[in-house]
């Protein structure tokens, strides 16, 4: 990295954006992003994710508060700060009549890169994103996958320390999405990333930190482990094998136990929900003991639902239910 390794990459304090005194897009967001962090920015539509990204890029001016990038306050004329940032907007748009070569050359010139630096770099990037065969074609005929790959190349041309990608997997097919996630994992090794996404499985796979926004308010900021730790780990699915009579008996025994709040059998799949009073490990041990006693074979056992998704939904739901209690928010 170009800067001091201990400096904060992004720091915001009381960041607020109100559009024309009509819409509160972002409300009092204070957070810090350290070097090496891969932050997943989560939230429903209209949560303020893109507004937050535009504020830290200096595309918008905050109504109140400030955003610092690499230790300096970001503003519309902070070209020197943006030279260290690579950005992909949600739906990248390109000037008309350009080819990948002319577009990347244009972007590199916008970063002030001289010809002897930018020409080899853009050639390397075009090859890396697999657009060599289309390097002379007009961008107006590009598919969403090709557009996304070109946007990735454009965001990397200045060798940025911070990457800000707004929904990078949006509109991509399975193969393109997979290679995008692999690229993110590779880049995460030596860069700081902020990824805005609706796709929680993407965030779960590549991010180590998360920030959840809802209606302009930040309702969670911390490690992904912390986010997952907030959910109740009490819902399991088990695929069983053995005599149907034995399995039915197992269901009966489990239903009789008081800490098993829900026990349902569909064919040979058993769904159980555990109470919160007793530690889940003890209850699971008890369940496995019952299975063994009835000579039922356990094929698979898994926690129901994606943990991050569940945690996210839980957070948003709780936030919605708080009502006026929001006024008396706990100190962070």
């Amino acid at each position: 990295m170009a800067g001091d390794s201990t400096e904060l990459i992004v720091e915001t304090a009381h960041l607020t954006k109100i559009y024309q005194n009509r819409q509160i897009a972002l409300n009092d967001v204070s957070l810090t992003i350290e070097p090496g962090c891969v932050l997943g920015l989560l939230g429903p539509n209209g949560a303020g994710k893109t507004t937050f990204l535009r504020l830290i890029l200096g595309l918008h001016r905050p109504t109140a508060g400030w955003a610092k990038v690499f230790g300096k306050v970001m503003h519309p004329n902070a070209a020197d700060l943006r030279r260290r940032v690579g950005y992909i907007p949600t739906n990248p748009q390109f000037p008309k009549g350009m080819t990948p070569i002319t577009y990347l050359d244009y972007i590199a010139r916008l970063f002030g890169l001289p010809a002897d630096v930018r020409k080899p770099k853009l050639a390397t990037l075009i090859r890396a994103v697999d657009l060599l065969a289309h390097s002379g074609h007009s961008l107006s005929h590009f598919t969403p996958g090709m557009t996304a790959r070109l946007a990735v190349a454009a965001s990397l041309i200045n060798e940025p320390d911070l990457l800000i990608w707004d929904e990078p997997t949006h509109g991509l097919d399975i193969e393109a999405r997979r290679s995008m996630l692999e690229l993110i994992k590779r880049l995460a090794a030596d860069k700081t990333l902020i990824l805005s996404s609706h796709n929680l499985s993407d965030v779960d796979e590549v991010c180590n930190h998360a920030c959840v926004l809802n209606k302009g308010q930040m309702i969670f900021h911390g490690s992904l482990q912390d986010l997952k730790g907030r959910i109740r780990k009490n819902h399991y699915e088990l695929d069983l094998d053995g005599e149907q009579k034995a399995i039915t008996k197992v269901v009966g025994v489990l239903r009789a136990l008081k800490d098993f709040t829900q026990v349902q059998l569909r064919h040979r799949r058993l769904e159980v929900k555990l109470g919160e009073e007793t530690p889940n490990a003890a209850l699971l041990a008890q369940m496995f003991q019952v299975l063994a006693e009835h000579k039922v074979t356990l094929i698979t056992v898994r926690s129901v639902g994606m943990q991050t998704e569940q945690a996210y939904l839980d957070l948003v739901e709780k936030e919605e239910q708080r009502g006026f209690a929001r006024l008396y928010a706990e100190a962070a």
């Binding site: 004329n77 902070a78 739906n91 972007i107 970063f111 001289p114 454009a154 200045n158």
Partner: protein, 260 residues
């Protein structure tokens, strides 16, 4: 273990300005508004000149080259003004939103972006007008040369082109500024059309000491003959430079404080 070499990229501070300037020149030349303006002017001028030459040759009516060229300049300005406004206002206004995102999120300041856009549109409009006007003057000179002698003068032609170019500079600059400060190009274009044509119409109703655009354009035939006051021309150029500079400063400051 060896530490990896630190790669430091070199940056050219003025390259972003040139990148936007050059790209905008190309994009504007390819735009349908620009092409429509040029094609419309060429066809209108061609038809006008052919008609007057026909009158001269068939009916034997004496045609003054200065009067014909003066009338054509007037037509060019009045007829092309609407499209020049569209070209000017859409310079920054037309790129608001996701396209501006892709450009202004890079290593370019708002100052550089605005200045590059403004200068590119100025160069396109003024140089296109100058080329078209030169073509009209040359055509007028040769087509009406068979009269006793052509009343067009070189200094008069240069002065007329300079005067109209100065006025166009002000219009383009204010158009770019309005486009950069309004939320959408449609609003900006409408506002600027209303202001320009509205003020122009009101001024034609005012008595003689007031500078009416129509009266000033009607005087171009005298300028083309070389009958002009150099001091008045110099004042016009200075006033247009000052007005453009003031508008440019307003645009730079306003755009650097606005959201895109």
């Amino acid at each position: 273990m060896d530490t990896p070499p630190v790669v430091t990229l070199r940056f050219n501070k003025f390259l972003p300005y040139w990148a936007v300037f050059q790209t905008d020149l190309r994009q504007t030349a390819r735009s349908w508004v620009y092409r429509l303006w040029v094609i419309m002017t060429v066809f209108a001028a061609g038809a006008f000149l052919l008609y007057r030459v026909g009158l001269h040759q068939e009916a034997g009516m004496v045609q003054s080259a200065a009067v014909q060229c003066g009338d054509l300049f007037r037509l060019m300005v009045v007829g092309g003004l609407a499209l020049v406004v569209v070209l000017a206002v859409s310079a920054v206004g037309g790129e608001r939103g996701t396209l501006a995102d892709s450009i202004l999120s890079r290593g370019i300041s708002r100052y550089q972006y605005f200045l590059a856009k403004w200068h590119a549109r100025l160069v396109v409009v003024v140089s296109t007008f100058a080329v078209l006007a030169a073509g009209i003057l040359v055509a007028g000179y040769f087509l009406f040369k068979s009269d006793a002698e052509s009343d067009l003068t070189l200094t008069g032609g240069l002065a007329a082109v300079l005067a109209v170019a100065a006025a166009l500079c002000v219009i383009v600059t204010w158009g770019v500024v309005i486009g950069s400060l309004t939320n959408g190009p449609v609003l900006g274009i409408t506002v600027f059309w209303l202001v320009l044509y509205g003020v122009g119409f009101l001024l034609t109703l005012m008595p003689e000491p007031w500078p009416s655009p129509d009266r000033e354009l009607a005087r171009l035939k005298f300028v083309l003959r070389g009958q002009f006051n150099e001091l008045v021309l110099a004042n016009l150029v200075i006033a247009s430079v000052l007005l453009s500079a003031a508008a440019g400063a307003l645009g730079v400051v306003g755009f650097s404080k606005s959201d895109v």
